[in-house]
């Protein structure tokens, strides 16, 4: 296969080293996720050739590791777009195109992104969403084989984010190269990506489909990204002994003791009670309300205990239970709601 993009890169910034190996097919949209400092931006800069890297990088069957950024067939859209402030939108897009055909081609790209009428505006006169589209047009105009998007929606307000996301969805669908999309937003992962590459401390911790990450995240951080609690644990006597304290029982347990797993509990599966519940839930433990936050019409409650969990309850339930910081409650989770990911 010559269309495959093979990545096996090692890059260092100071004492921090990032090592990523992955193989991508044309049309792949890879969400690159991970906590701050995981090495996402460093990985992207290494791909673009902006920092030195060792290993292998073949794009469409061609080894480009020793090439300068200009000749890697890699397009890079940094955070906030970084449009040249002294050039119009049109000249920004035409910057990477040579010759007489540059400007007409740039205009066509702006038209395709629905912002053709803004061609003669300077970046200062563009909204955040418009600027992001110009930056996208500028990268796409050079017809790269690999497109790097570094948090393209992070700096936008909610409305612009929806608009640019729709644009991205349309154009990434048409794009037959590989897209690497750094994001912190699970909505981006679910609506734009076909695949997830999760980094932590400079290494790949998960490389799977989007469904793979939602159903079987391999780190607590990934579980939290998808709205679940994740606990490192070890099987012991038919239960899960959590590394951070506490015990959980799952309906579906791996065989044997001493198996390292991640126990995943969706936040909406955690029930909160004022008194000790009498129901059938097999996991019941006392806890104290540490923090309350309203997220998307529901209340996200941090319950301190063994284990400490996040619970999503309705605003009505929160009011009914009289939840407030410092209130003592009981948490319960059905065994069928605990997913066990063998590590």
């Amino acid at each position: 296969m010559t269309n495959v993009t093979t990545i096996d890169l090692r890059a260092s910034v100071g004492t921090f080293t990032v090592h990523v190996a992955a193989e991508c097919k044309p049309g792949d949209v890879v969400a690159v996720v991970g906590p701050n400092g995981a090495g996402k931006s460093t990985f992207l800069r290494a791909l673009a050739g902006l920092i030195p890297a060792t290993g292998t990088l073949t794009v469409g069957g061609v080894d480009v590791l020793d090439r300068p950024p200009a000749r890697r067939h890699v397009g890079w859209v940094p955070q906030d777009g970084a449009l040249f402030p002294h050039l119009t939108a049109l000249d920004n897009v035409a910057f990477g195109l040579r010759g007489r055909q540059g400007r007409p081609a740039a205009q066509r790209w702006l038209d395709r992104l629905g912002i053709g009428d803004l061609a003669h505006r300077r970046p200062a006169a563009l909204s955040g969403g418009q600027a992001q589209k110009v930056a996208l047009a500028r990268a796409l105009a050079r017809e790269p084989r690999v497109l790097l998007l570094d948090e393209p929606l992070a700096a936008l307000d909610v409305e612009a984010r929806t608009d640019v996301r729709r644009s991205l969805r349309a154009h990434l669908g048409d794009f037959d190269g590989v897209t690497m999309l750094v994001t912190h937003d699970p909505v981006d992962v679910m609506t734009l990506a076909s695949r997830v590459l999760a980094l932590d401390a400079g290494a790949v911790v998960q490389d799977s489909t989007v469904t793979g990450v939602t159903t079987a995240p391999r780190t607590p951080w990934l579980a939290a990204l998808m709205g679940s609690n994740g606990f490192y644990a070890r099987t012991a006597a038919g239960a899960l002994a959590l590394d951070g304290g506490g015990v959980l029982v799952a309906a579906d347990m791996p065989a044997g003791d001493g198996v390292d797993v991640l126990a995943v509990v969706p936040a909406h599966a955690v029930a909160v009670h004022r008194g000790r519940p009498e129901g059938s839930a097999r996991n019941v433990w006392p806890a104290t309300v540490r923090d309350l936050a309203v997220v998307g019409g529901r209340v996200r409650v941090t319950l301190g205990g063994a284990p400490t969990v996040l619970a999503d309850v309705t605003t009505a339930a929160a009011a009914d239970l009289g939840l407030a910081e410092g209130v003592d409650v009981w948490a319960s989770v059905k065994a069928t709601e605990v997913t066990v990911v063998v590590l």
Binding site: L50, P69, W76, P78, F84, P85, F95, G96, R142
Partner: protein, 253 residues
Amino acid sequence: MTRTRPPLSLTTAAVAGAAFLLLPLVSLADRTPWHSLPHLLTTTSAVTALRLSLECSLGALALSLVVGVPLAWLLARVDFRGKSVLRAAVTLPLVLPPVVGGVALLLAFGRHGVIPLSLAFTTWGAILAEAFVALPFLVLAVEGALLGIDERYDDVAATLGSGTTRTFFRVTLPMVLPALAAGSALAWARALGEFGATITFAGNLPGSTQTLPLDVYLTLQNDPDAAVALSTLLLALSLVVLVAMRSRWRLTR
């Protein structure tokens, strides 16, 4: 909004300071023989000095631009050993007594200098002396602006197929243009008023090295009115630079 009353002692000192700065300028304007000004500024020697001053100061500015912008770029963008030493060397003419600069230039580029170019006591010598003192203004202004530019612009340009040189002229330079203009104005004004380094290195030869400030100094001995007239002209030019820079600052804010 409540305002605290400034203490009397501070106010008094501040007023004294303002008077100290303004009084000489007011005196100069007061003593200027306004009715004979056109005549005094069009005498052969005045016109010669003025023309020479413009030539030399613009020449010094051109020289400063040609070497100063790359110097600023080097200081802002490239890491190398001895960078702090270079930056100190670039800044030194700001605080160095100009006459010392003149002596140093003489030892470097004079007839018996390290590089014997025989530039001393020529118009080129005057240009060199003025550039020596004006250069820091330009370099510091441009370096400051370069440091303020996000290097991601260079990176983006690189991924868009632009080489370093093209990026410099199409991206970096346009972005520092306001600072370049401000630095140029300051450097030009400094070059125009240069006295010590010029008289030491280039001498005081009417028509070839006797610039306006030198002319003022000499004329003051035997024709005070003419000296005052030339001084007023230099003051006016300084004010023009100041006003031009003020509007530039407003634009960039």
